[in-house]
């Protein structure tokens, strides 16, 4: 039997009820020139064998880089195969967010463990079950700060990722809040004097990122103190999540919210996504934070179990008050992060040290090239900003060798001409770096 959602009588009744004579009338508002009139010529179907041949030929046109020297918010790391094996299990692998959550004790336990790991790594008491990406997590923290304090100004360091600042401005614009940017000092860090002059009693939150977009580490404690002295909150972000393995957590430096991109933890770079928004906070904001939280409890027999808890603001009894609604399966990205972090354990610190070593080696080799100069003096993690004679030529040479070059900062910071942001992770061997230097010089 054909699928028949409405009978002719159903349709006639509905049309009569709303006073139209034909379905066509429902589309009367759309100008004719925008209407779809004729199906394009689509050839008849292909066999499976022909389809695979066609798709393989198209896929072969993708250029897969041999090496990547760009980070700038997306980081190439080695992903142990245990991550894809476990994430791909049918209990987990769905496109949609897990509902009927209490039936799925496994996913709830994984989310709970993810939250615990993130709270530990960020030096905070609580973390939610994840957001869409680092930028929206940062913007949510800003909006929440403004709502809680009845203040309408957000102060953000100009060294925060430029795209994050765009997302932040969009969220703030929609809520009627303003964003003021604080310039960088010559160290590449937030200019503290500039921060002090931007701060007043109307500021809800100060936003920094450490490592920041230039790769520099920020000195968070004095920034937190300055914010708190004016009654503002500190939102601290980070670029590459693996830096959390070695740096003093922002939560231990006075940050009220720690937000950032969790892609580095077991999620591949994949044409722009999916990404993982990390959102962690002080416990006093527990009932105000967006998203969902998994909690541990005991069942009626006293056995340990897991529930979705304190999620009143999303999808449930107060969804009209929610500021976010994460529907696609972000939990899968959080699960990948959870498995990755569990697999690495204390070796996350070793990995972070490896990133620092590779980066210092690449940086020292680049600085030996005549005309190449260091731009900022602050300590770095796995990215750094360097000035060269011709940024475009450098990247063209690298591209010709199948290497994604460094990020050209002039796009976002017009004053930084011929200035490149390099990233080196554990994926680069010493030989790779030596090869890069040979190509460039």
């Amino acid at each position: 039997m054909d699928y028949c959602p409405h009978t002719k009588d159903d349709i006639a009744q509905m049309q009569a009820a709303i006073g139209v004579k034909s379905i066509e009338e429902l589309f009367a508002d759309i100008p004719q020139k925008f209407r779809f009139r004729k199906m394009p010529d689509i050839p008849s179907g292909l066999s499976e064998q022909e389809t695979i041949a066609l798709m393989s030929a198209i896929a072969a046109r993708n250029q897969m880089p041999r090496l990547t020297l760009t980070g700038a918010g997306a980081y190439v790391h080695f992903i142990p195969s245990v991550v894809s094996h476990l994430v791909g299990r049918s209990e987990f692998y769905t496109a949609y967010t897990p509902y009927q959550a209490e039936i799925s004790q496994g996913i709830l336990q994984a989310i709970y463990e993810y939250q615990t790991m993130i709270a530990h790594l960020t030096g905070t008491e609580i973390a939610n079950a994840s957001m869409y990406d680092g930028a929206s997590a940062m913007a949510e923290a800003a909006v929440l700060s403004a709502k809680m304090s009845n203040r309408s100004k957000i102060v953000a360091a100009r060294s925060v990722h430029p795209q994050y600042r765009q997302v932040l401005k969009t969220y703030c614009w929609a809520n009627g809040y303003t964003v003021t940017e604080v310039p960088c000092a010559t160290s590449g860090q937030l200019d503290l004097a500039g921060l002090h002059s931007a701060l007043d009693e109307s500021v809800a939150a100060v936003i920094v990122q450490s490592p920041n977009f230039f790769g520099c580490l920020e000195d968070i404690t004095p920034i937190a103190d300055a914010a708190h002295a004016k009654g503002a909150l500190l939102i601290s972000g980070f670029t590459d999540g693996t830096s959390l393995g070695i740096l003093k957590p922002a939560g231990a430096c006075g940050a009220d919210f720690v937000v950032g991109e969790g892609q580095s933890f077991g999620n591949p770079i994949n044409y722009g996504g999916p990404y993982l928004g990390i959102f962690a906070a002080r416990e006093k904001f527990l009932r105000r934070i967006p998203g969902r939280l998994a909690g541990a409890t005991v069942d009626k027999n006293g056995k340990r179990g897991f529930v979705l808890t304190l999620q009143t603001r999303e999808q449930h009894i107060r969804r009209e008050k929610a500021t976010s609604n994460i529907c696609s399966n972000e939990a899968l990205c959080a699960l990948a992060a959870c498995i990755y972090l569990a697999a690495l354990g204390p070796n996350l610190k070793t990995l972070a040290a490896l990133n620092i070593n590779k980066t210092q080696y690449l940086k020292s080799r680049l600085l030996q090239i005549p005309g190449w100069e260091e731009v900022f003096s602050a300590p770095i993690y796995n990215e750094f900003t360097i000035c060269c004679t011709d940024a475009r030529v450098v990247n063209e040479k690298l591209q010709a060798e199948g290497i994604i070059g460094a990020y050209d900062l002039q796009k976002d910071y017009p004053e930084l001409k011929n200035t490149l942001l390099f990233c080196a992770t554990e994926m680069l061997s010493k030989n790779d770096i030596d090869h890069v230097i040979e190509i460039i010089k």
Binding site: M148, S149, N150, R287, R288, T312, I317
Partner: protein
């Protein structure tokens, strides 16, 4: 059994009470009947000082083990004081809704609005009807 609704204040149909201080300010809370319906209160989201609310707009949020409800401002005004005790002891609303469980003090924008509210006996009648 709910406590008696004190005659020294006015009531809204949404189960808030407002006590006119006579100096252009008024204290706002929820009624004992409301707390009884909500059951154990576990969290109160207080408004920031300085927030301006219009009559009928949400001024606070009360979360119980059963549900989450907006507390609507029974009158328009600016929040000049909040009951910070509720941050650590939200159950004060359960034990003493008309006293220690007060929520906020408003600077009244329009004292005429008080006329639109119910007296204690009108409110008694309202909840008697709701119970049936």
């Amino acid at each position: 059994m709910s406590k008696t609704n004190p005659a020294d204040r006015l009531y809204s149909k949404d189960h808030e009470w407002v006590k006119d201080n006579g100096d252009g300010t008024a204290v706002v809370g929820i009624t004992d009947y409301a707390q009884e319906m909500l059951t154990d209160i576990v969290f109160v989201e207080l408004p920031p000082i300085g927030k301006k609310v219009a009559q009928g707009e949400p001024v606070a949020v009360v979360e119980s083990v059963k549900s989450v409800s907006d507390v609507y401002a029974p009158v328009s005004g600016e929040v000049i004081k909040v009951n910070g005790e509720l941050e650590t002891a939200p159950d004060l609303i359960n034990s003493d809704a008309f006293g220690e469980g007060w929520i906020a003090t408003l600077k009244l924008a329009d004292t005429d609005e008080l006329k639109s509210l119910l007296s204690a006996s009108d409110y008694d009648t309202l909840i008697k009807e709701e119970k049936h």
